[in-house]
Amino acid sequence: DAPPQSKCCKKQQYSNCKTNSLQILSQTWRLKGRNEDPEVTQVPDPSKLTDECLKAALLKHGVKAGPIVASTRALYEKKLRKLLLHSNGDGELNGAEKAELYSDSEEEQEEEEEPDEESVSEEEQQKPKETKKIQSENNKAELKFHRGDFSYQQCFLLSSRLRAVPSRNGKPCSKRHSKNVLKSSERSQSSCSQILAGISKPSATGQHSGLRSAVPPASKTMVSNDCSSVSSKTFSITQMVQEMESRSAVSDCTVEELNSSSVGGHCSRSYRFDMNDLDKSRSTDQSLYYTPKDVHPSCGMKLPQEKVKNILKEALPETKTTTTRIYATPRRPIKGAAQRPIQYSLPHTLVSPVTLERREVERRLVSIHIQILFFVFVACIIFFIYVNVQDSTVLALLDSLSHCFDKEGGTLLLPETEDTQALYEQD
């Protein structure tokens, strides 16, 4: 099966690879249950390929492989397999390997009803068919959501719905807006989808209805904000989390309201906790606190902020008891992590450990002054004893002592003994 490879050019090698693999092709394709044209596909079985063929195949998929040696071969085979799966699956992406696929909403790919997260985003471009698709996808998405899968599609679901709505109105700004939104949301979709996925996943088992209603507003707002920054997105998501916690069953009427209200305030629909706010927002047709700078002061910016604060206060103590295990870290008041007292990163006194040790030692030991005093005190006592005692035994002791010390440092002692003798004689 291994053709001579040293002198072939790449194309020839590849064609050789292809011819060799045609036989393998039929087998593998049979396994996969497809009867497609062999020429359409790439080489399927990486392990049967030669090094050169493997390298060529990887290059075809855009992967510049290093030298394929014994230790690296297995790795590259695995990689090729993954790539083949991706290309064959037509968008069946499970992992977050290719971010461009998530964000690629420009391509108008097939309108298959395959329950793919990415195909949903790509279908957003097709406006006339959106509504039908949306509903079907919505159902699918809900099913998926209930199953607890990654709900990337949740992110895109009502975004598509939203885009359909403004297009119905025929407002130019909305159309422009939607396009801008698409582009701007490309980058953030992956992040938001991940965040949403993270949020939805743990709560999938729990509050289905709450999330369902919470997700649409969040996605809606994410879509509707063309200039939404990441912070505002996180803000919405934190709000979403709080919403989930505070409300177990926000009913479908919110969704419907959103749908109906989206007609008016598409561009700048903001995320509302209460129904009242929704009504207000619908009437005012302005975003309220997504990007406060953009907000018109007349629309009662303060009101929602207050409400936000209240809800934050309500929600934040609740966050610890939730099942979502998600903490709205950007909005949490700075209390220190996990209610620990605030710990500054640096100690107030910048001391080296050596000085610290020294201080410790000094603390333990008796201070020097006291030591000196004690020494002097003891010396005085002994002096007085010498002076006052008139016993001959003491003198004898002294003599003996002096004899002992004579060997070592007698000169010093001699004057001492003389002094004591003098004193003694005085007494």
Partner: protein, 90 residues
């Protein structure tokens, strides 16, 4: 500062010379033994593998996981360690 371990800092701080495989960040006794069984007895040989994979941390992580059964954290740590070493000395 990133969360690098002491081992990481020790490795990245100087040329690896003839250090054993255990000196790599993320590689402990078990993984080190497995690598040695496969012939990667010195850190430099593992570096060779890393370079063969064109200093791609992802691929190296995959390889390490396949070869030794390391978990993501260990493999990632090793890859990062080697990458930084390369940035510093290569």
């Amino acid at each position: 500062m990133s969360t690098t371990s002491q081992k990481h800092r020790d490795f990245v701080g100087e040329p690896m010379g003839d250090k054993p495989v255990m000196a790599l960040s993320g590689i402990g006794d078990t993984l080190g033994k497995k690598l040695e069984e496969q012939g990667f007895d010195k850190a430099s040989v593992v570096l060779g593998q890393f370079l063969l994979l064109k200093k791609d941390t992802e691929m190296f992580t995959d390889w390490l996981k396949d070869a030794t059964g390391a978990n993501s954290r260990q493999a990632g740590s090793c890859a990062q360690c080697l990458k930084e070493w390369c940035d510093a000395f290569l």
